[in-house]
Symmetry: C2
Subunit: 297 residues, 2 copies
């Protein structure tokens, strides 16, 4: 029987499914009056997302010959962090968005205070997911918690959000725009890759190349987001050209649209170069990287 | 030379000082444009607080004959969580307070988005403080991270905040009021005690008594807060009778002022009873419990 050729979209769909099965099981309560909190958490957490961060984590772990079943709970922590950041991003005091993935944003549906508390619950639970994972040594889990905290905290995602806020309506040069997005998007993707490598017990040198891979696809991801914001796709499910309306500096604004596309391809090249320096089967990671800059949503 | 009699206020002042020295060292950045974030974090974190949660943690650890120097970094995580919750509590979508400890609230000083991001940074860093502590085995640190997450997450403090929101302007019975405060205040204080016991490597039975102690002082703490909200004290530094204005159900509202004071004393009695069941020198923990219901701020 001939084997089917490898399809990255099938791989992503299958991985998304196993992650979603786990995400559905995380939150539950016996306290009746907390049911609405769980509903609000599920509303955003189980909405149709790509699950790129946990998938990148699992794919990295698999690249070293591991079966990723035991790593799902730890990978899920990355989605919890990502989800909390999206919910807060949409709040009136932040981007003030009414739509997310084609549906009313969480605070539009449940109110601002409830959305904020649900986002807090997601963040707290992310760390518990790693700590409570019944697999992997405590030393490895501690390392993953450090990586998650660094990737999402004030020297990572939250720091990037602060810069985003600080630079709004300001003209900033390319290096500051890159720092912003390295922190805001890149650091959590880098953490996703490094958590996968940590679970696989890899050495510092391998992690260094993988960190470079993570940073590059993070930047490619953001440039692609900026391009999609202009060229648009109904699949995003939110208002197009919202960056322009918010007077945000974007890669297309600084470089032009075509040069931005070239820049994202250059990031992809660097990412794949980094992968080729490590001793692992990185085929799927390469395909994920390609997917990131070819996606239309 | 006669030794001075033990003074709980001196003990609290000394411990607050060592905790504050550590808190000052946590956040720093080389990214120039993140300086305002650090300023905003320090504005709330280094404001004049009692540091009850980390002190309870250290005092529990010391009760088993340990010197608590190595535990300070882990105890500090409890203050980071407490501080983030206060900052979010004050936000317009939550309690909408302008004053905290006699000063403008963080969002009044730095803006809502900046305050929210600073609160996120505090939460994320709490978990990193435990994970990065150079002392204690990884297994112990993992246990502490679970305790911190359970105490602060949706089955702890955040769950309590959700109930607080859900019950606002509703008449609720005493058992629901107790559940609300057990979650909102009690669970993080319980976690403080249990983290101290975990660092000391204590057994499940000892932890069970200590959990009971933590729950009881947590409830006593909240009842005292409700009483102070009516009887008032300028030391609190915020508007008095704010609970009444917000139509919140309080212990004095349900039980009356005098019966509330009796209830808080009963909580203290139960707390001290629980302490006497364990094999440790619990003198200081008892004094802290007494302080909690005798304080006037």
């Amino acid at each position: 029987m001939p084997t089917n050729p490898f399809s990255i979209t099938s791989y992503l769909a299958i991985k998304k499914e196993v992650i979603d099965i786990h995400l559905k099981k995380i939150f539950g309560t016996r306290i009746h009056d907390l049911q609405q909190l769980i509903e609000s958490i599920h509303y955003s957490l189980l909405a149709n997302g790509k699950r790129i961060r946990p998938i990148v984590c699992l794919a990295t772990y698999e690249a070293f010959g591991n079966n990723s079943t035991h790593a799902i709970q730890i990978a899920a922590s990355l989605e919890l962090i990502h989800c909390y950041s999206l919910m807060q991003d949409d709040l009136p005091c932040m981007d003030d968005d009414d739509l997310r993935r084609g549906n009313p944003t969480n605070h539009k549906q449940f109110g601002e205070a409830a959305a904020l508390l649900a986002s807090d619950a997601l963040q707290t639970e992310a760390f518990n997911q790693i700590a409570s994972c019944p697999y992997f040594d405590a030393e490895i889990k501690i390392e993953c918690i450090k990586l998650l905290s660094h990737g999402s905290g004030y020297h990572g995602m939250v720091g990037g959000q602060v810069l985003d806020l600080f630079y709004e309506a300001k003209d900033i040069p390319l290096d500051k725009l890159k720092t912003l997005h390295t922190l805001k998007t890149g650091k959590l993707i880098e953490a996703s890759v490094l958590i996968g490598a940590t679970l696989a017990g890899k050495d510092a040198k391998t992690k260094e190349h993988l960190a470079h891979f993570g940073q590059s696809i993070g930047l490619a991801f953001q440039i692609k987001d900026d391009v999609l914001d202009i060229e648009g796709s109904k699949k995003i499910g939110k208002d197009q050209k919202s960056d322009i309306a918010k007077e945000k500096t974007t890669f297309p604004k600084l470089l032009g649209l075509e040069a931005s596309k070239i820049e994202s391809k250059e990031c992809l090249r660097i990412a794949i170069d980094s992968l080729r320096k490590i001793d692992a089967d990185t085929t799927i990671l390469e395909k994920i990287a390609e997917f990131i800059i070819q996606r239309d949503y």
